[in-house]
């Protein structure tokens, strides 16, 4: 049955069928094989029902809300303010623009839940400036590309909402669990950038006085406050993740529309159509993943796989290393959203068997697959950085290799020390 699952899924995906229908097809073929001799027990009804029930989810509603909030903030001129603030703090160092890009990406990660949105917002501002200052073009694109992957690791995060729904784990706890790993990856990237800068002749930016930093912080105040507002709502339990997301939309509307006055309200209809359409595309995969997950559970795939894994190892650490290796491979060829929805129902039961915390497992999984967004051949962030920087794909892959490597090193760190992830949700959540 495991073979049917793998052949159907990969066969359909490889010939270019949409992911959603590949998943439905996988479920269908498993149903066929399971009861080949009894066509009367095939139930199209069950397939359609699982699909529709999969899309019937309030937690997932947070995804379009966070998407809209981020989009409003971006159109309201927030990226410029965040970059200005980051520049006032870190621009003074040699090769400072690289650090500015990383810090700006981290702050923007707290506003948006998507890696592509993060890369676009920061990259479209930073890359022309970096090129103008004589920075190595592929390296600049590489660091922006790597930093963009932090987007869904620091809350809010589309991918964590997916995992939370699949795993029936609190989205708020996952959000809190992502804070430390996200910051650690940011620091790791800054260290890697430091080693790149050391050998180069990059200009040193002007020193901004404390008053200048204060002024830039004041300008960016409402932008920096949004992540704090989101984390506050979640930790105090004032609102659920979905309600927090809706409040973030209200916050973004007020700040961009009335305080910064750069958001035009007649942009709302178009913004809404795009947000709803991209949400529908994601929800279609969510629904279809439920069809596949239903058959995966019915056919006891996790138990089959658990037996194979337990015959190899009974140490949770080795298991997590194997999972990470698998996810790196999957992350190369698959987008993070579908990967989470397909793999969570298969891997989580095994992880629970090893006594691992589902929040810890989820954050590792999300972080791993988000770094995978920067790896070829399938990497949304990678292609986003290519189109922003006009650098050749092959050059960008080569330039971003050390940065991606550093991110995987940090991932190894948080995998070995679960406390790094669990400390915040256990003490605040």
């Amino acid at each position: 049955m495991l073979a049917v699952f793998l052949i159907a899924l990969f066969g359909l995906v490889i010939i270019g069928a949409p992911i959603a229908f590949s998943l439905v097809g996988t479920g269908f073929f498993m149903m066929l094989t399971q009861s080949l001799s009894r066509p009367s027990s095939w139930s199209f009804f069950a397939l359609a029902q699982k699909f529709v029930n999969g899309t019937d989810s309030v937690p997932l509603l947070a995804i379009p809300f966070f998407m809209i909030a981020g989009e409003i903030m971006t159109r309201g001129g927030i990226s410029r303010r965040i970059v200005d603030f980051a520049y006032s703090v870190l621009g003074r160092f040699k090769g400072g623009l690289g650090y500015v890009g990383i810090l700006a990406s981290m702050i923007f990660a707290g506003v948006s839940g998507s890696a592509v949105a993060d890369t676009t917002a920061v990259g479209s501002m930073m890359l022309p400036i970096m090129e103008g200052a004589g920075y190595d073009k592929p390296k600049s694109a590489g660091i922006i590309c790597a930093a963009g992957c932090i987007g869904p690791i620091i809350p809010p995060s589309t991918q964590m909402i997916f995992y939370g729904v699949c795993a029936e784990v609190s989205v708020s706890a996952l959000f809190l669990g992502g804070i430390v790993p996200g910051i650690l990856i940011g620091i790791g990237l800054m260290v890697a950038w430091f080693f790149h800068v050391r050998k180069r002749n990059y200009p040193v930016g002007p020193k901004t006085s404390l008053f200048g930093i204060f002024k830039a912080a004041k300008e960016a105040f409402f932008a920096i406050c949004l992540p704090a507002f989101i984390i506050l709502c979640i930790t105090t339990g004032i609102a659920t993740a979905t309600e927090t997301a809706a409040l973030a939309v209200l916050y973004a509307l007020i700040v961009s529309g009335f305080v910064y006055r750069e958001f035009k309200f007649n942009e709302w209809p178009n913004l809404m159509i795009n947000a709803m359409k991209s949400t529908a595309v994601m929800m279609f995969v969510v629904g279809s993943a439920q069809v596949a997950a239903y058959m995966v559970t019915t056919c006891a795939i996790p138990q089959l796989l658990a037996k194979v894994i337990l015959s190899m190892t009974n140490s949770p650490v080795t298991f997590m290393l194997l999972v990470n290796l698998l996810l790196i491979l999957v992350g190369c060829v698959m987008d993070s959203g579908p990967a989470i929805m397909i793999l969570t129902p298969i891997l989580l039961p095994i992880a629970k068997g090893f006594g691992l915390d589902p929040v810890y497992f989820g954050v590792v999984m999300v972080a791993n697959l988000c770094i995978g967004l920067a790896t070829p051949p399938v990497g949304n962030v990678l292609y986003c950085a290519v189109s922003l920087s006009k650098v050749k794909l092959a050059d960008l892959i080569k330039a971003s290799l050390p940065f991606v490597g550093v991110m995987y090193l940090v991932l190894l760190g948080i995998t070995m020390f679960p406390e790094l992830i669990l400390f915040v949700p256990n003490n605040l959540g």
Binding site: L12, V13, I14, I15, G16, A17, P18, I19, A20, F21, V24, G25, F28, S43, F44, F45, A46, L47, A48, Q49, F51, V52, T55, D56, S57, V58, L60, L61, P64, F65, I68, I238, A239, T242, E243, A246, L247, V249, L250, W268, P269, M272, I273, A275, M276, K277, T279, A280, V281, M283, F284, V285, G287, V333, M334, D335, G337, P338, P377, V378
Partner: protein, 172 residues
């Protein structure tokens, strides 16, 4: 053909209006519920249910809209393997993929009809509307996507290998 195209365009425009309305309504309802809870210490029992139902409809109507643009639509797919092929093999692969998609859509459409029939007598707990009415979006969505995919299939069969490879970029 042009009449059908006009009907299709009208339908897409209608879907867009529904998406704007539903999206705005969902945002408003969730915000209102938080405000009601903290300021007035009350809440609307039907608002969560309404949001869920709107969300299901948004999913299926949005999926139709996303399937409408360009040759392959905007639904997530992995195309880097297919793009390694050219000419006739490429065309055959694309046709096989679409035939499988058609089969899945037909199955889901039939299952969706059964689902609507089976749940019509049940009423939802807060809004007291037939559950089948909520699920009606499933056969509508799968059915319309089936028609869209048929049109795509006929286009792929008639297009030459070269035109097939540039079809998506030209449509943008």
């Amino acid at each position: 053909m042009s009449v059908l195209k006009k009907i299709n365009n009208g339908l897409m425009a209608f879907i867009k209006v529904v998406l704007i309305g539903a999206g705005t309504l969902m945002t408003g309802l969730v915000i209102m519920n938080v405000i009601l809870r903290y300021v007035f210490n009350s809440g609307l029992s039907w608002s969560e249910e309404a949001c869920r139902f709107l969300f299901i409809w948004v999913t299926f109507l949005g999926a139709i809209l996303a399937n409408d643009t360009a040759l392959h639509g905007e639904h997530m797919r992995m195309d880097f393997v297919v793009e390694m092929f050219h000419g006739i093999p490429r065309k055959i692969l694309e046709i096989i993929a679409l035939l499988l998609v058609l089969a899945m859509l037909a199955i889901l459409f039939m299952g969706g009809i059964e689902l609507v029939q089976g749940t019509w007598p049940m009423l939802t707990s807060a809004l007291r509307i037939p559950k089948g009415a909520v699920y009606l979006c499933a056969p509508i969505g799968f059915g319309y996507m089936f028609i869209q995919t048929l049109v795509k299939l006929s286009k792929i069969i008639t297009l030459s290998g070269e035109a097939l490879e540039t079809a998506d970029t030209e449509a943008e």
